[in-house]
Symmetry: C2
Subunit: 194 residues, 2 copies
Amino acid sequence: ASWGGTATLGQIVVWDEPFFQGKRHEFTSECYSTPERGFNTVRSFRIESGAWVGFEHCGFQGQQFVLERGEYPCWEAWSGSNAYHVDRMSSFRPITCAEHGHSQLLLFEQENFQGRRGELSDDCPSLPALGWGSSAVGSFLVCSGAWVCSQYPGYRGFQYLLESDSHAGEYKHVREWGSHAQTGQVQSIRRVQQ
Amino acid sequence: ASWGGTATLGQIVVWDEPFFQGKRHEFTSECYSTPERGFNTVRSFRIESGAWVGFEHCGFQGQQFVLERGEYPCWEAWSGSNAYHVDRMSSFRPITCAEHGHSQLLLFEQENFQGRRGELSDDCPSLPALGWGSSAVGSFLVCSGAWVCSQYPGYRGFQYLLESDSHAGEYKHVREWGSHAQTGQVQSIRRVQQ
């Protein structure tokens, strides 16, 4: 379904106060460090076009937040249901390879593409419901598109971005899909919507 | 994709301590009040089969949590990224009409099925990305399957269950899709996976 025109150029508008208040700035490309751009905090934002990924720390480090078009008035709107909450965003960049209608992902039970293998081309809020026996994934191979995998069913908990145009789509070990990843626990996976 | 057999009968196993510790009980049908069943708190659970909806309060009241197959070791696993957190589940029931492969939903800009209309048969992490102009939905008509709509993009924030076999699939006003709904703000919608 598509009910209207969508701009293809990525654009994010950020504010330094919640609910779209305070200092405002538009970005159409990556921001390595919001403090260096005059924003000690980013407390609300709106994604005008494209898909983006935000990070807890500068330099694209720390917790990851996949951000699709829409309004994020406060930190609850982007932070996951994690034990520790991230009330700021310190760097962000566009996700350029998102292709919602044409995405393919291979997942493997063990690292280095070993063990039992599964294939996805659709969103999956519960890997166990598809018969994936383990609650962990050892490695991923992104054939096309961009995907986001989550710790818990229903896209809850820590999330990690997987891109076909990064690492040549190869994520051989849990360390490669997020600097803050503690475990390989992945129970839901979906495509990123551009 | 499907990689294994899945049981069709709904089953949930609950514990009164986090991480699957303490008193344990299996349910295969609804629980109106966990205290009446000897569980003052449910602090971890595993969905063995089927899809379920959990509630903050007894009698299927308060915040809703759509629960698909998998492990929920602590409250962060089921509670959304809301301002107030729900560290217990006091009632739950199976979602009987979930049909992941054959689901259809109509959404309307205004209450009572008035105004601009949209149709969905696939998951949508961002309604704005599909061109839905407003960040609110006025009413829903569930033609088939079960759906869960969320306040923010990417299935974050408050969530509300929409079922084809409840209210005859008619949700004419924001008051009808959740006892705790404060606004009609809906920015993502997806099918429930059985």
